[in-house]
């Protein structure tokens, strides 16, 4: 069974944010005329101190909140609601506590079957068909088949995140958004999942954005890194980090260390500037 993504739209630009402005009701502006571009297939990390708007940016890209002005195009189309081809993985609490891991992994497909291929909630051309072979394929791929009938409260944090990843990849996304996906995990689990995620991104030809406050995670996972300082965000600093990925599994790699040092200095400078 192949799980390669089907034919994709032709637009080479995955994310095009132009002059985005956003503030939560009653709050100060977090983004002010913010612009950002992401090409198809890129792997990005977004890092910055807490309160800088990292998560807000991800929710904007996910179509869960809307900018007050500016234009946000994903895959060439103007974003008005959550896009069926975008996958979102959150730090925790994303799984239904009352559903087994298998049922959780199937949730996205069940939502699609619920609406049918209406183009709003699910891709217009897709015939979902029998969901279970697809679900079981991903449970197996993520090593969850043995515990598929367990509830989230009965498994470890790492296993829960694997289930969240399975649930997302079952839907064959082309854009993957992750909000601190591995922050609550212990170091060995975190590192193995980071590596697994990079493998899966390469294998599935995904464009990915991981939001993190963790310097090592940003340096390991983002071939390009967007650094956000204190809000309101206008431009952000983009850092090239071409060696990110398998090469940096050796955490003593000089380029990796250098990137970590650089990010740390930038974070320190931002925090001191605000204090």
């Amino acid at each position: 069974m192949t799980q390669n993504p089907g034919p994709r739209p032709t637009s080479e630009r995955m994310v095009e944010a132009r002059d985005l402005t956003f503030a939560y009701p009653g709050g100060a502006e977090i983004f002010a005329l913010f612009s950002w571009q992401i090409e198809r297939g890129e792997t990005w990390a977004v890092i910055g101190p807490s309160g800088c708007g990292k998560t807000t940016l991800l929710y904007l890209l996910a179509g869960l909140i809307w900018p007050s002005s500016g234009e946000l195009r994903i895959g060439g189309e103007c974003l008005r609601r959550p896009r069926p081809d975008t996958g979102l993985i959150l730090q925790d609490y994303g799984l239904l506590p009352w559903a087994t891991l298998r049922a959780n992994a199937a949730l996205g497909l069940r939502v699609r079957t619920f609406y049918g291929p209406d183009g709003l909630h699910s891709p217009s051309g897709e015939q979902v068909g029998d969901i279970w072979p697809r679900v079981d394929f991903w449970l197996k791929r993520l090593g969850l088949e043995e515990i598929a009938s367990h509830y989230p409260s009965q498994v470890s944090g790492g296993q829960r995140q694997r289930a969240a990843i399975a649930r997302t990849l079952v839907l064959r996304p082309d854009l993957l958004l992750m909000d601190e996906p591995f922050s609550s995990l212990d170091a060995p689990t975190r590192e193995s999942l980071q590596s697994l995620m990079l493998d899966l991104q390469a294998e599935q030809g995904l464009t990915s954005i991981v939001v993190t406050h963790n310097i090592e995670e940003a340096a390991f996972m983002g071939r390009r890194i967007l650094f956000l300082g204190r809000p309101p965000q206008r431009q952000g600093v983009v850092l090239a980090n071409p060696g990110a990925g398998p090469l940096y599994r050796d955490r003593r790699h000089p380029a990796y260390r250098e990137m970590c040092d650089r990010l740390r200095k930038m974070l320190d400078a931002t925090i001191q500037g605000s204090g």
Binding site: L64, L88, Q91, L96, W98, L107, G108, F114, H121, R167
Partner: protein
Amino acid sequence: MRRLPVLLAALGLGGIWQIVSMIAQTAILPPPWQVLEAFVLAIPHDLGLHILASLWRVVASILLAVGTAAPLGVLLGQSRRLYRIVSPMIYLLYPVPKVVLVPVLLLFLGIGDAAKIAVIFLILFFQILVLVRDQAAALRPELLLSVRSLGAGRRALYSFIYFPATLPAILTAVKQSTGTAVAVLYVAELFATRYGLGYYIFINSTSLFDYPAMYAGILAMSLLGLGLYFGVDWLERRICPWLPSAQEENS
């Protein structure tokens, strides 16, 4: 709850009853075996019908209360604005002892089943409403966001999140209120009816002076409450297998 300790407790209580009735030697406290005999003999005759009448009233009230309070509770739980408007009203109405409304309801709804069902409905309604509202309001925003990101709109959120998330609250509310519901049923059935366990107990004690039958009615009413409690408890473990209580049971 384990079955054996419950059975032993029942036997123990029966034993105490037996001893007390032997000491008292009075017609108003017959020994348990005599009551049991009256109970078994009366079921095929009138007692069975009285049990059915009471059971129907309670079950109808439960269904009505779940059907109205649960959706309203979900609605209140997710809309802050609605919550702000409605919760002062609930705040005032919730503590009103519903049983005092029996005469009022009888005046408005007449002597049929409607008034009796309505009073139990009122008790259950507020219990379920409050518990479901809290449950729906306590849902983590991350959960809603992540399911919305999978494409779920309002309708899908109801069926994939709000309904299963509030199911335990509904069942807990029903379970907690069965005791009160049956107690109120007794009061409601004292008035303007010729069927129901309340009427049966009352008529046997005050007009017929058939004390074993009176106790048989009390026993039936207790069993009704107990049966409802355990029925809902069983249902909870059956349809909410993710709850810790259900998992303990299975392991």
